[in-house]
Symmetry: C2
Subunit: 435 residues, 2 copies
């Protein structure tokens, strides 16, 4: 800002030349405008990643929260430490033990959702220009965070057994040959968002070995791990290599997203840096929310509640898969998740899922185009279908509508050639996931 | 991380060479270890910035929160937008109107405490090496955030009427002459933390003019503005220059810190960037907490509650000032706040407040050394005394103990010469303020 540029203050954004370089990487989601429409009640949204809370015991929760405020209000409404409420950290260790993790409560930092975990991990590790490896596709909110720290995402291919070890080796070799510094591998091993696949157990040790061999840290994001449809769990990467894995967890999908309680379990030395970053980000996570989760874990049958969630989501997954098999035109393929929220679909080459989205919304069904899940412009033949939120009947109706739109699109392409309206692409802010 | 450094994995922190450059700016507060001791019940802490919640109506709050979870739990426990709950944003505009601000709810982003507001404002504006002007002394949590984005803080002197316009002009000229880019002035105009002074109303327009003339943005941090001891308020800087001021507000001091509900009101174009930064930081602030604040504002006499807080803090300020006048050895001076939480004290030149702190804690009284509030190593003759949390009787006892320690220190220096044990200094993480 120098005084010899007086005209700047008359431009559309008078602050335009004041922003940090990283602000250029923060762009609004291409589908945000559509989401206002997609959230209308007449639209079946297969787009959002909102958990289904209908099964929560609101009455007993209300009683617990009231007694908490009445009895411990002076603590619950007061500042806490950036580390998090000690009792909750102990309980979180018990939750993680279900997936084989034996972490210490002291090495755990409570965060404002695991999005904040992602943010502070990226903050302490990534300089501008550093490379982060991530599955292709990957979680849109992670891509947004990496972009906001000016890290470059290099995607690693997946198949139905998750991240490909061969592709990982190749990506590491290629990136290192270019003299680029890889800071970490970001991976969602279980019930992947958006791909709907789970990393094969046999591959886990191999992936960890490859990363250790290249001295690359692993950031394991595991919000869905307890939502296996048969109650099955998989060994967390963190349980296999505690010294080289930073683990991100969350109560958003197993309890209540609106409380924004997540956590990071990190090697001890890293935990100290994370706590400093957390302090400078929010001082401390909300005390009340941590105490609510702690009471809930102590007084409710939280594992029984997770089983209820598993059944609800399985029923919805089944409705989606049945609808896809019944209604979709030939040439579409999709993943078959055994847990979590998402199916990843690939459509015939003449269809552009991003270009088609406005027509889908007009036909009263919404999805997220695959382009949102890549930092490199890929994903035009893919879409993410979320089955977490609508009822099974609505899901079936949504797929029926989607099938009609797809069929029309394919017929149109057969008559006039493929529609190709390329616009901007790349990492987006995470809003689609919560809409 | 290159494979030719195998020895690194055996060092104390095997991740040491993986951290981002900004992580070097994140160092633990020098007094954090002392705080564990300072929080023992036998120690009178004049150190922490914890608000006094004793006057909160916990029973009726408990009822409200219970009815909220019971009736609106599916919304309160669900994801929301990064923008914040619309009704709360409207109510916040009414709160700000008490200090003359006429902002629009659309230009406001709800944050996880105003610390997060500071974080995202710095994130979108500051590149490494950019200069931020801040009062000397300044809020420790702000210095930590600026440091974590590798911005350089240049302090601007204050007097009993707050930030000095002459010093501001001089700092701007000097910094610009060095070819450095000043991104914004960070200021706490009302009941300053830690200085305990208020920016003279006549100076406000002048400060804004100077900044506008240099095309430097103003970031106004106003957590204490409604805590004037005579119910007085001062016109917010934002009310005088809406286009060039980003305003940070908080319910931490006027309602409940543990909910972590703050906000940023920004010029429209900036608000859009802030929302993107907030999404990548936490997805959205906790919905439940926002709805609790919204209900509280709608159903409780929140202005009456603020009056209760004003009286409680005035009584404590009076106890502190009376104790200082009665017990302190000659050569000490202090500010006389007309609101807020803090008194800023200057001690005789032979005393080093940082070196003296362990002896004070041994004598069962704690304060924060002035060094925590400067990025440049200043502050060894100053200390911050917080009167917000202990009872008036405890405050008096604390001052008595502090006076003894100070007197001993001065006598010791007269006998053996001044103690001088300079150790590290500079910006610290904000933990002291919440302890």
């Amino acid at each position: 800002m120098t005084p010899d540029r007086p005209g700047q203050r008359n431009s559309l954004d008078p602050h335009l030349d004041r922003y940090a370089a990283r602000a250029a990487g923060m762009t609004a989601s291409e589908v945000r405008a559509l989401f206002a429409v997609a959230n209308r009640p007449e639209v079946v949204s297969l787009a959002g990643g909102m958990p289904n809370l209908a099964a929560l015991p609101l009455d007993s929760l209300a009683d617990e929260v009231a007694s908490l405020v009445r009895q411990d209000g002076l603590v619950a409404l007061q500042y806490g430490s950036a580390h998090g409420v000690p009792e909750l950290r102990e309980q979180i260790c018990e939750v993680m033990a279900l997936e084989g993790v034996s972490g210490h409560a002291d090495d755990l930092v409570v965060t404002v959702g695991s999005q904040m975990g992602l943010d502070i991990v990226t903050r302490i590790f990534c300089d501008p220009g550093d490379v982060v490896l991530a599955e292709g596709p990957s979680y849109v909110g992670a891509l947004g965070t990496f972009g906001s720290y000016q890290a470059e995402v290099v995607h690693v291919a997946m198949d139905e057994a998750g991240l490909s070890p061969a592709a990982l080796r190749e990506a590491l070799d290629r990136t290192e040959a270019l003299g680029r510094r890889v800071k970490f591998l970001y991976t969602i091993p279980n019930f992947h968002n958006p791909a709907g696949v789970t990393l094969d157990v046999a591959r886990r040790a191999e992936i960890l070995d490859i990363c250790a061999g290249h001295e690359v840290l692993v950031v394991e994001d595991n919000p869905y791990g307890l939502l296996g449809f048969d109650g099955q769990t998989y060994p967390a990467l963190r349980s296999l290599d505690p010294d080289n894995v930073v683990y991100l967890g969350s109560f958003s999908k197993t309890f209540a997203a609106g409380l924004r309680v997540g956590w990071v379990l990190a090697p001890h030395a890293v935990r100290e840096k994370l706590m400093l970053a957390a302090e400078s980000a929010t001082l401390c996570p909300p005390t009340l929310n941590q105490m609510i989760v702690s009471r809930y874990l102590a007084t409710h049958d939280w594992q029984g509640q997770i089983k209820t969630f598993q059944l609800a989501y399985r029923e919805r997954r089944d409705a989606l898969l049945a609808g896809l098999a019944q209604y979709l035109p030939p040439g579409c393929t999709w993943t078959v998740p055994d847990g979590g929220f998402f199916v990843w679909m690939t459509v015939p080459p003449e269809v552009d899922t991003k270009a088609m989205l406005p027509r889908a919304v007009t036909a009263r069904v919404a999805y997220v185009s695959g382009t949102g899940f890549y930092a490199d412009g890929s994903g035009r033949r893919q879409m993410r279908l979320s089955f977490c939120y609508p009822t099974p009947e609505r899901i079936t109706e949504g797929v029926r509508r989607l099938a009609t739109v797809l069929t029309d699109e394919i017929e149109l392409a057969a008559t006039f050639g493929p529609v190709n309206t390329r616009t901007g692409s790349g990492p987006q802010v995470p809003s689609p996931d919560t809409a």
